[in-house]
C-alpha cells in the first residue's frame, strides 16, 4: 500500500511538472496598469475640437513590456476639465489610427473617427469636473476596436463636445491602459 502511494505521488508530481512546463507562457504572465499623461498643464480650447497624438513608446512600462504584450484589456481616462461655457457640455472622445490624416473639422472627426467615449457631463460656469479611471470606464464605447488599435502603440485622440463650439480648460488628461503581458 505504501509503495502504491509513493508511486501515485511520483505520477502526480510528474504530471504537475509536465503541466507546469506546458503552461509556462500562462504562468509567466500578469496584468499591469499604467497611465500616460498627455496634457499636464492648462490648455484652453475654444475650437471645435482638440486632438492629441498618443504614442505609448514614450511610456516606460509600455517600452519595457512592448514585445510581450498579449492583449489590451482596458482603456480609461483620468481628466480634470473646466467648462467655462454657459451650458453643460457633454464630452466625447474619438480615435483614429495614427496612419490616418489628421481631421480638420469636427464634422470630419464625427464622420471618420470611432467614438469611444461619450456621456461625460461637464458642469458650466467655470466649474471644474474630475473624472477618474474607474468612473471613465462607464463612458467607454467600441472597446474591442480601440484595443486593437492601441496594440500598435500609436493613435490619434480627438476630444470634442456635443454643443459646438465649446469653451473648455483641460487641466490634465491621462490615458490609462490595462495590459496582459506574458513571457
Amino acid at each position: 500500500m505504501k509503495n502504491k502511494f509513493k508511486y501515485m505521488i511520483m505520477v502526480f508530481s510528474l504530471l504537475a511538472i509536465i503541466i507546469f512546463a506546458g503552461c509556462w507562457e500562462w504562468i509567466a504572465s500578469g496584468t499591469l496598469i499604467f497611465g500616460q499623461k498627455y496634457i499636464d498643464e492648462q490648455i484652453m480650447t475654444t475650437d471645435e475640437f482638440h486632438y492629441f497624438m498618443v504614442d505609448l513608446s514614450d511610456n516606460d512600462t509600455w517600452e519595457e513590456h512592448e514585445d510581450n504584450i498579449k492583449a489590451i484589456t482596458g482603456i480609461g481616462f483620468e481628466m480634470w476639465v473646466t467648462n467655462n461655457g454657459e451650458d453643460t457640455a457633454t464630452g466625447q472622445i474619438y480615435f483614429a489610427s495614427a496612419d490616418d490624416d489628421i481631421y480638420t473639422t469636427a464634422a470630419e472627426v464625427q464622420e471618420n473617427a470611432v467614438k469611444i467615449f461619450d456621456g461625460w457631463k461637464l458642469a458650466p460656469d467655470g466649474e471644474q469636473t474630475y473624472l477618474n479611471w474607474p468612473m471613465s470606464l462607464a463612458y467607454i464605447e467600441s472597446a474591442d476596436t480601440l484595443y486593437k488599435t492601441v496594440m500598435t502603440g500609436e493613435l490619434t485622440l480627438y476630444a470634442l463636445a456635443e454643443n459646438l463650439p465649446f469653451e473648455l480648460v483641460v487641466d490634465t488628461a491621462t490615458v490609462v491602459v490595462t495590459v496582459t503581458v506574458g513571457y
Binding site: M1, K4, F5, M8, I9, F12, L15, A16, I19, C23, E25, W26, I27, S29, G30, T31, L32, I33, G35, K70, A71, T73, G74, G76, E78, N132, W133, P134, M135, L137, A138, I140, A143, T174, V176, T178, T180, V181, G182
Partner: protein, 176 residues
Amino acid sequence: MKKIILSGVLLLALASSGFATGVGIGGFGGVSIPIIQEDQGNGTVFGLRAKLKLIPGFTVEPVLGFNKFGDADSDFGTREGSKVTYYGVDLILGGMGAPIGPRVYLVGGGAFYSFSRDYDEDESRLGLSAGLGIEIGLGKTLGLDFRGKFHLVTQDGGGSRKMANITAGLNYYLGM
C-alpha cells in the same frame, strides 16, 4: 447551473451504485490573493464540494466556488474587483475520511471560471489548479480541512489570471 445540477446527480448516482467506497460533502471559505493582477485586490472565496472515494488513496472532488476580489487601488482611482464563479473537478491524492488526527494530501484539477465586473465583458475560461492541504479528522464523520491552492485561468490572446486561495473548511462523511 444545469451543469452543476447534472454533476450533483451524477455524483449521487455513482455513490448509490456502489462505485464509490465513500462519500462526503463539505463547505469552505477563506481568502483569495490575486497574483500579478494590478487590477484586482485581495478578496474572499467560499464554496461547496462533494467528495467521492473511488479507489484507496484517490478521491474525486466536484467543487463549486465563488471568489470576490477586493478593490484595486491605483494612482488613477480605485476599481472594484471581479466576481468569479467556478465549477470543476479536483483529484485528491492522499485519501479522505480522516480518522482522528491530521492527514496531508495533494490536490489538483480543472474548472470553468466565469469572471464578471462592471464595464468588463463577462469571460468564461478554462483553468487549472493545484495545491496542498491537510485534513484533521474529528471523528469518523467529520474532518477539518485547511488548503492552499494555486489557480491559473487562461485568457484570450495568451497570458492568464492567477490567484492563490487559502481556505478552511469542514467535511462531513457518509458511509465510511
